[in-house]
Amino acid sequence: MTLVTGARRPAKRVTRAGPGSRPLGGHGAWFLVLPALIPILVLSVGPLLYGILLAFTDAQSGRTASTQWIGTLNFQDLLHDTLFWQSFRIGLVWAVGVTVPQFLLALGLALLLNQELRLRWLARALAIIPWAMPEVVVGIMWRLVYNADAGVLNETLRDLGLGDGHDWLSGLTTALPAVIVVGVWAGMPQTTVALLAGLQNTPRELHEAAAMDGAGAWRRFRTVTWPALRPVALAITALNLIWNFNSFALVYVLTNGGPGGRTRLPMLFAYEEAFRYGQFGYAAAMGCVMVALISVLLAVFLVGRLRGGEER
């Protein structure tokens, strides 16, 4: 810090420390950007564009040499593919089903952890577990919990006198809720940390002033906490919706899309089309539709939320 104050010598020439004050100076800057830019273009942007092209071809694994341009045929097929729409619906239920409870729980927890409570350190330590665990391991772990005979869930229910052993992950009605619980568990820490950071940006004095004016806890939350938290909450919810919609590993390990396709998320469906049946073009078209629809949904969501905020 002393260094900083000592550095303020040329009074006028030093522009604000903020970003964006200087133009991209000379060739030096390009030199700094290229090492990252080239791999991004070659391995990310390029494949993405290539993927969009593939969606208009009949590319299949094994005979990519004779790939033909077939226009929008893949998209027309998709339109009539009930299995795809089933998976799309399941993807939406899953994404919303994970994101909403997760947000509410994480919000509650963030509010708790923002208080002076004794077990805060333990909560922080434990939160590392879901965050750092490979998704495959999370799936395996919950398979052990849900296990029909040797699982702790059924054992607890037996002890409480509720039911005698249910195969949660292979029941037609229980499979999706069961995997949703796992999704909530796995993503809680990130959401909590994001919200906690948002909370810590709220000025404490505002709270105290509101409390002095006699505002109850709920009033304080609505008038002070929430307005400050809204941007973070909105961003993390939008991201969670996308991430969950595109998720793969967790459900692949838990149910592999079963039973009877009841948990077959869009990514699992696309994976099977591409790498089990070799339908590259068709799977690419599916990816395009997923991008398009998720963008539309998000736009609707964001516009709706922003407008909802202005009306207040």
Partner: protein
């Protein structure tokens, strides 16, 4: 702020419920890993194994090439983290200090790249890597991981760069240091902790990654740990619970350790990036 006693009790009850929700599945995994087959087969499983054993760990190593898989994972994750940070740091510096068209495009790409369904990228990548004969090679996987971890590496590093006052660089410039000299001798030491945190985060994400590894690696000897773990779950989903739990627990240890060390820096970095951009 004053809180009534009953509200306090409610708060602690809620906190305990949350802690249980977080901890119990993991404790169950641990408990299963140390149980002998007889206890696993019994209809009334217990939280604490009555006759704890290490047999499951031995059996896990016998059944699947775990050690080999761990080495593959280590190689892939460490090289991906190293390369990603080497490439991202200079670009993050430019993005943080110069608001140019390029910088904005890069920020846009960071955000948009979070929305791709991987399948749209992996199919063309699969075809390209196949033509380059890089399917089934850890090297091909590393290339994918590098690009895949660049967005958040940039995101975090931009936050770290912005946290360093620009006056420091200007002071160095006034003292006659060139751009490169300033970067190496002024910025690099100040950024070092952030760079290490970013690299460790990239390491953990690559260590945990499953989808790309599943698609790109076919031969069992070349597969990474998460892919090999799924082999424990048989075709019918019937698994040998003990060894499965043991292997799963071992696979988690490295990321847990790394994450425990850098967790604060990571959340700090993610937030710095989020708040300031």
């Amino acid at each position: 702020m004053r809180t009534s006693k009953s509200a306090r009790i409610g708060q602690y009850a809620a906190l305990l419920a949350y802690l249980a929700f977080l901890a119990l599945p993991f404790l169950w995994l641990l408990s299963t890993a140390f149980k002998p087959p007889r206890e696993l087969g019994s209809l009334h499983p217990t939280w604490v194994p009555r006759n704890p054993t290490l047999d499951n760990f031995r059996q896990a190593f016998d059944e699947q090439p775990l050690l080999h898989a761990a080495l593959n994972s280590l190689l892939a994750a460490a090289s991906a983290a190293l390369v990603a940070v080497l490439l991202a740091t200079p670009m993050a510096y430019v993005m943080a200090r110069h608001r140019t068209l390029l910088g904005r495009a890069a920020t846009g790409w960071v955000v948009v790249s979070q929305a791709f369904p991987f399948v749209l990228v992996i199919i063309p990548l699969f075809l390209v890597l196949k033509n380059l004969r890089l399917i089934d090679s850890v090297f091909g996987l590393v290339m994918v991981y590098v690009v895949w971890s660049l967005p958040f590496a940039l995101w975090m590093l931009v936050g770290y760069v912005r946290a360093v006052p620009a006056e420091l660089e200007e002071a160095a410039a006034v003292d006659g240091a060139g751009r490169l000299r300033t970067l190496v001798s002024v910025m690099a030491p100040l950024l070092a902790p952030g760079i290490v945190a970013t690299a460790l985060f990239a390491f953990v994400t690559a260590w945990n990654e499953f989808f790309f590894a599943l698609v790109l690696l076919k031969t069992p000897e070349k597969q990474t740990l998460p892919v090999v773990l799924t082999h424990f779950i048989g075709a019918e989903g019937v698994a040998d619970l003990g060894p499965l739990a043991a292997a799963a627990f071992l696979a988690t240890l490295p990321s847990l350790v790394v994450f425990a060390i850098v967790q604060r820096r990571i959340t700090g970095g993610l937030m710095a990036g989020a708040v300031k951009s």
